[in-house]
């Protein structure tokens, strides 16, 4: 069995290392595509599903639901992938044969159950927020992303980005939020 030369750790992924991101993507790609082939979707669809499964996996690493690699990354990806494949088959109105019944998946469901699989549409408010978030300066976007997406505390942000004190980070965050609110209100004066 082929083993990774140096183990990619959860920390590498969580730090946002692009190198780790790419290596994990490449290392599991062929395994996944080989596994997905049995469901008779096109290669393009399988690649699209692999990417979506990878995104969900990564998201769950970031939000802390995957706290340690107790299983191989492939196992997580297969678990999510299987769910997405069934969704895609339903969407394509392909009959899901009983031989592919989700109940057969068994214990792999543990991965599926804990993760958020469905991507909800943004509400009109959120669409507006997204537009104005994208218009903020790079520093603001980064700071808010570290806090709301990467789960950094104020202290983590201070250390990671060389701020002088926690108060400086707090003040910067408040300013960013204020700007965001003001821009949304200016766009939507009611």
């Amino acid at each position: 069995m082929k083993e990774a030369k140096t183990e990619i750790t959860l920390e590498d992924l969580r730090k946002g290392s692009d190198l780790a991101l790419k290596r994990v993507y490449e290392e599991n790609r062929d395994k996944f595509l080989n596994f997905a082939r049995r469901y008779h979707l096109s290669d393009e669809e399988n690649i699209d599903i692999y990417q979506d499964a990878y995104i969900i996996f990564y998201d769950n690493v970031m939000n802390g639901k995957v706290e340690s690699f107790t299983s191989s990354i492939a196992t997580y990806l297969f678990g999510i992938g299987k769910y997405l494949i069934f969704e895609r088959m339903k969407k394509n109105k392909k009959k899901v044969s009983s031989k592919y019944d989700l109940s057969v998946v068994g214990k792999e469901d543990e991965v599926v159950n804990g993760f958020e699989m469905e991507e909800q549409e943004l509400t009109p408010e959120q669409v507006l927020l997204k537009k104005h978030f994208g218009g903020l300066g790079q520093k603001c976007q980064e700071l808010l992303t570290l806090f709301y997406y990467r789960g950094y505390t104020i202290q983590d942000i201070m250390e990671a980005r060389d701020y002088n004190s926690e108060n400086v980070v707090k003040a910067a965050k408040s300013r960013c939020m204020k700007t965001l609110r003001e821009r949304i209100q200016a766009n939507n004066p009611d």
Partner: protein
């Protein structure tokens, strides 16, 4: 308590039990607090969405790189490759004829170049498995390549009536420890009883026959695989040609 601090603690996952109570009360009774909370919650959702979109773009980029590497390899060095391949094919053909007249195919080499242990795709090892500890032990040993230990645990599972996919993984561990006869028996059972791994079981059964130098059964199983399933179809066809 400071409302700002409560919101901060909520989004930093640091709310205490008491804090959570106050937080819930404020959410019900304080419209300003609720509106601030909704705003931050929406922001979190929006940032998440944006990150996912960025990630998708990156993955599409990786995919393009993979394809263009293949393509570059194809076009740039195609002539050189063809000439090399032609010489190599001639050499191999000559060697093959000479070798075949003296002996049969090198089953061990064919086996080694085709066998790869199937990854654990059925059991997620988590820390809180409780009563399923035997299944956990089996797959933990399997993932760690401790196949003797995995065999013992899989056999134990089988006697306890846990049949789902056990035979398939048991066969993998048998193949990894050179127990071909046992692997063949387990794989036959998979083909009969486990629809989900039927195609895969054919492939590994063919390899197990190959390892046992049973060319007739190896070829029959490969033909069966090629005719009825998609799994490893191309590899099976190549292997069939090599055996002919």
């Amino acid at each position: 308590m400071d409302k700002e601090l409560l919101l901060y603690q909520y989004f930093a996952n640091q709310l205490t039990e008491d804090g959570q109570k106050i937080f819930n009360e404020l959410l019900q009774n304080d419209p300003d607090f609720k509106s601030q909370f909704e705003f931050e919650k929406n922001l979190k959702r929006v940032i998440n969405k944006k990150q996912k979109e960025n990630l998708k773009q990156k993955l599409i980029g990786f995919e393009k790189e993979i394809n263009s590497n293949d393509h570059n390899f194809d076009s740039k060095s195609s002539f050189k490759l063809w000439s090399m391949a032609a010489s190599l094919a001639l050499l191999i053909a000559l060697g093959w004829i000479a070798y075949n007249t003296l002996s049969g195919p090198d089953y061990d080499a064919l086996y080694a170049s085709n066998f790869e242990t199937y990854p654990n795709t059925v059991y997620t090892i988590t820390r809180s498995d409780g009563n399923q500890s035997l299944t956990r032990d089996a797959f933990a040993a399997y993932e760690a390549n401790h196949h003797e230990k995995a065999i013992a645990a899989f056999l134990d599972l089988r006697t306890k009536g846990e049949l789902a996919h056990v035979d398939f993984y048991l066969a993998q561990s048998y193949l990894n420890t050179g127990k071909n006869k046992e692997a063949i028996a387990a794989l036959k059972s998979v083909i009969l009883n486990d629809k989900e791994f039927k195609a895969e079981a054919h492939w590994y059964l063919a390899l197990a026959y190959l390892k046992s130098k049973d060319e007739v059964n190896a070829k029959a199983t490969l033909k069966n695989l090629v005719e009825n399933f998609d799994y490893k179809k191309e590899k099976a066809q190549t292997l069939l040609k090599a055996l002919d």
